[in-house]
C-alpha cells in the first residue's frame, strides 16, 4: 500500500487520473478549484492519459462532457455551488441521454449572499435530475468512490455525482491509500458502454418525442437507477477483492442498546463517529447513497436495532419544508410498523457540527411545536 497525504480534492483528482479518462473539461469555483488544478498538473506532466480542456463555464464543461461521452469517451468534470446550479439544464440532459458522466460536486452554499461554507443545498437541488448521488465522508472514500462511480455509471448508463463537503473534506489532508494505476485501471475496466455518435450510422439522437414515449424512457431510467442499489454491493465486493476496502449504501455503527441514532451524510459522519463514545446510548447511520435512495436498507437497520429516536443532521434546508435528508427519511419510514420519531438538526448555510451541539440536541425533547426542527445556531 502506498499512502499519500492528500486533501479530498487531490484524492478526487488522483482517482480521475487512475480511472483512464479520455477527457476532462474544467472550470474553477471555490472550493472545487484544487481538483481541476491538480488535473491540469497531471496534464502538464503528461500524466493525465487523456484530453484536458479549460472551458468558459460550468455549463460548457458539462455540455462538452455530454458530447464527448456521446461519442464514446470516458469523461470527468467537477464543480460546486453556483457552478452546479448553472449546469442544471445539462444535468437533466445527460441523464435523459443516458451518457455515463462522472462529476464531483464539492458542497458549498448558493447565494445570495455569497457564502463559501459547505451547505448541501447545491447537490440536493439536483436530486430529481436522474443522476446517482453518493456522499463521501473523507478523502479515502472520495478516491474510492470516484473509481466506483465509473463502473456504476457505465454499467447503468446513468451519470453519477460524487459529493463531499467543501473545506472539511476538500481542503483537509489525510493519509490516502493510492493504489498503482495498473490496478485501478483493471478495476474500472474497459468501457462498458457503446458510443452513440458513430460516423456512418445515421441515427437521430435525443430529438423530439411524445409524452407517451417519454414516460417509458423515464420509467426505464428509474428502473435502471434502482439497480444501482444491488450493483453498488457487487461493485464493492469486487473493490474489496482489489483493494481490501469496501462501502455500503447505508453504513452504521449502532452499539447494542442504542435508543437514538444520528443519520448523516458527508463529513458530519466523521464528527459524530468521533463523538460517539461520549454520547449515551447513541448510534450512527451514514447515508452514503442518496440516489437511488436506499429506503429498504435504512428501515432494515433501524428495525434491527429497535431505534426510538432518529436525529438527522441536515446541512441544508428546503425552505418552507425543512431538512431534505430528514424529509426523505420520513417518507421512507412510512411503511415501518413502529417508526422512530425523526428530528432534524439543521446546519443550513454550512455551519460546523460541534460535539457540544450533539449533546445539546440529545438533551432536548421532541415534544412541543416545531420541536422536531432544531437549528444549529440555537443549540451550539
Amino acid at each position: 500500500m502506498a499512502y499519500e497525504m492528500l486533501s479530498g480534492s487531490q484524492a478526487a483528482a488522483a482517482a480521475v487520473q487512475r480511472a483512464g479518462v479520455d477527457l476532462v473539461a474544467a472550470y474553477p469555483i471555490t472550493p472545487q478549484t484544487a481538483i481541476v488544478e491538480t488535473l491540469a498538473n497531471y496534464e502538464a506532466k503528461g500524466e493525465l492519459g487523456g484530453d484536458f480542456v479549460s472551458v468558459e463555464s460550468e455549463y460548457a464543461a458539462l455540455a462538452c462532457c455530454y458530447g464527448a461521452a456521446a461519442a464514446g469517451a470516458r469523461v470527468f468534470t467537477a464543480t460546486a455551488s453556483h457552478g452546479l446550479a448553472y449546469m442544471h439544464e445539462v444535468i437533466h440532459w445527460c441523464s435523459g441521454a443516458r451518457v455515463p458522466v462522472v462529476m464531483v460536486n464539492v458542497n458549498r452554499a448558493i447565494g445570495a449572499p455569497w457564502c463559501l461554507d459547505p451547505d448541501q443545498g447545491d447537490s440536493l437541488s439536483q436530486r430529481d435530475t436522474g443522476w446517482m448521488q453518493i456522499y463521501c465522508s473523507g478523502a479515502q472514500e472520495v478516491f474510492d468512490t470516484v473509481l466506483q462511480a465509473y463502473v456504476l455509471s457505465e454499467s447503468l448508463l446513468l451519470p453519477c455525482l460524487v459529493v463531499f463537503d467543501g473545506f472539511y473534506i476538500s481542503h483537509t489532508y489525510e493519509a490516502v491509500d493510492i493504489p498503482e494505476k495498473e490496478k485501478t485501471l483493471e478495476f474500472v475496466g474497459e468501457k462498458r458502454f457503446k458510443p452513440q455518435v458513430v460516423p456512418g450510422n445515421p441515427v437521430n439522437l435525443h430529438g423530439l418525442t411524445t409524452g407517451d414515449n417519454q414516460i417509458l424512457l423515464v420509467r426505464n431510467r428509474h428502473e435502471s437507477m434502482i439497480k444501482a442499489l444491488d450493483l453498488f454491493k457487487q461493485v464493492n465486493k469486487k473493490f474489496e477483492g482489489y483493494f481490501a476496502r469496501s462501502y455500503k449504501a447505508v453504513d452504521s455503527v449502532i452499539p447494542p442498546g442504542s435508543k437514538t441514532v444520528f443519520v448523516a451524510a458527508g463529513s458530519t459522519v466523521e464528527t459524530i463517529r468521533w463523538a460517539l463514545p461520549g454520547l449515551k446510548d447513541c448510534g450512527l447511520i451514514q447515508l452514503r447513497m442518496f440516489r437511488p435512495y436506499p429506503a429498504e436498507e435504512l428501515c432494515a437497520v433501524l428495525e434491527a436495532h429497535d431505534v426510538e429516536r432518529v436525529i438527522v443532521v441536515d446541512r441544508n434546508c428546503s425552505i418552507g419544508m425543512g431538512g431534505i435528508f430528514s424529509q426523505e427519511l420520513k417518507a421512507a419510514l412510512y411503511n415501518m410498523e413502529n417508526p422512530p420519531i425523526v428530528e432534524d438538526l439543521l446546519l443550513a448555510g454550512g455551519i460546523d457540527l460541534t460535539i457540544d451541539m450533539l449533546h445539546r440536541v440529545l438533551e432536548t425533547t421532541a415534544e412541543g411545536k416545531n420541536a422536531d426542527q432544531k437549528w444549529g445556531v440555537d443549540v451550539r
Binding site: 460548457a60 461519442a71 469523461v75 440532459w93 445515421p202 430529438g207
Partner: protein
C-alpha cells in the same frame, strides 16, 4: 446553376423531412450535407431544425445527429469532436448546426468559447432572422424595422441586426464565410474550403423562411438573391480574421433595398423614413466591407 448540376456527391437529406414548403433552412442543410458528407456528425441545437430532422427513430439526414440543449451547441461540438478523436475517428467532419437564436443570442457564449479555443469543427448558423421554432419572435439577428411576434404592430424591431461576422472575425478564427441558398455553388466552395481547414470555422447562411418572413414558398430563392444584390447580405469570406474577400461581387450598382423589403410581409408597415434608415445602414455596412476587402493583407 441547378442543384442537380452540382458536382457534389450525394443527397443526404431525405425527402419527407418536416420543414415548411420553401424552407431556406432545409435547403441550406441539404446543400451543406451534400458538400461535406458522407463522413459527417451533426450536433443540432433547439431550433426549427429540431423539428425538421424528424421524430426519432425517424431521421431526415444520412448521418448521425446529436441533439443538445439550446445554449450548449458550441460546447457539445467541442466534446463530440474530441470524443470522436479519442475513438479514432479523427477524419469525421463535425458540424454544429444552430439557428440565429442558437448562435447570436443564447448560444453566443458557448460558440465564443469554442472559437477562442479554436476547436476543430464547423459551426453553421442558418439565419432566418428570428426564433421561428417558437413562432417568429425577435432575435438579435432580426433586421431593423421587422415585425415579429414580440414586436407586433405598431412595434417593430428597434435595434440593428447584430454583426456576427465581425464578432467571429475578431476571434481570429481560421475561416468564416457568409452564404445563402440562392448561390449553392458559392456555398459549396466555401464549405469545401472550410472542410479542408483545421480549427474553428464559421459559416453564416441566410435562410429565408416563408411563414416567418411573410412570403410565398416559391419566393425563397428570389429573396435570397435579392438579399445579396441589394447588399443586405453580401457574400464574402474572412481568413484568420484579417483577410476579407468578396466571393460574389456584382459591382457597385446595388438593387434598391426597398425591393427586398416590400416583398416581405414582416416589413409591411415599415414607413419610408425607416426604410431609408435601413438603406443608409446597409450602404454604410457595404462601404465598411469594401474598405476591409480593399485593405486586407494579401496571402
Amino acid at each position: 446553376m441547378r442543384i442537380d448540376e452540382l458536382k457534389i456527391d450525394s443527397e443526404m437529406l431525405y425527402s419527407g423531412h418536416n420543414a415548411c414548403p420553401g424552407c431556406g433552412a432545409a435547403l441550406a442543410v441539404r446543400y451543406l450535407t451534400k458538400a461535406l458528407g458522407p463522413n459527417l456528425a451533426i450536433v443540432l441545437t433547439a431550433s426549427c431544425w429540431s423539428i425538421i430532422s424528424g421524430m426519432p427513430p425517424l431521421t431526415a439526414l444520412k448521418c448521425p445527429i446529436l441533439h443538445c440543449p439550446f445554449p450548449s451547441a458550441g460546447s457539445v461540438g467541442s466534446g463530440v469532436k474530441r470524443g470522436l478523436n479519442a475513438a479514432g475517428h479523427d477524419d469525421t467532419t463535425v458540424v454544429v448546426l444552430a439557428g440565429d437564436g442558437g448562435t447570436f443570442d443564447i448560444g453566443l457564449q458557448a460558440m465564443s468559447g469554442a472559437a477562442q479555443r479554436n476547436e476543430d469543427y464547423i459551426f453553421v448558423c442558418y439565419d432566418n432572422e428570428a426564433y421561428m421554432n417558437t413562432g417568429m419572435q425577435t432575435s438579435s439577428a432580426t433586421p431593423f424595422g421587422a415585425r415579429t411576434a414580440t414586436a407586433p404592430y405598431p412595434l417593430f424591431k428597434a435595434g440593428q441586426k447584430k454583426d456576427i461576422m465581425q464578432i467571429m472575425a475578431a476571434h481570429g478564427i481560421p475561416y468564416a464565410a457568409t452564404a445563402t441558398v440562392a448561390f449553392p455553388d458559392d456555398m459549396e466552395s466555401k464549405l469545401k474550403k472550410a472542410q479542408a481547414i483545421k480549427g474553428f470555422r464559421f459559416i453564416h447562411i441566410l435562410s429565408p423562411c416563408p411563414p416567418g418572413w411573410g412570403t410565398e414558398s416559391s419566393d425563397t430563392i428570389h429573396l435570397s438573391r435579392l438579399a445579396v444584390s441589394t447588399g443586405f447580405f453580401p457574400l464574402y469570406e474572412i481568413e484568420n480574421g484579417v483577410t476579407w474577400k468578396m466571393t460574389h461581387y456584382q459591382g457597385e450598382k446595388k438593387t434598391p433595398l426597398k425591393e427586398y423589403l416590400s416583398a416581405q410581409r414582416r416589413f409591411k408597415q415599415m414607413d419610408r423614413q425607416r426604410m431609408e434608415m435601413l438603406q443608409h445602414e446597409v450602404d454604410h455596412e457595404w462601404d465598411c466591407l469594401m474598405e476591409k476587402v480593399a485593405t486586407s493583407p494579401s496571402e
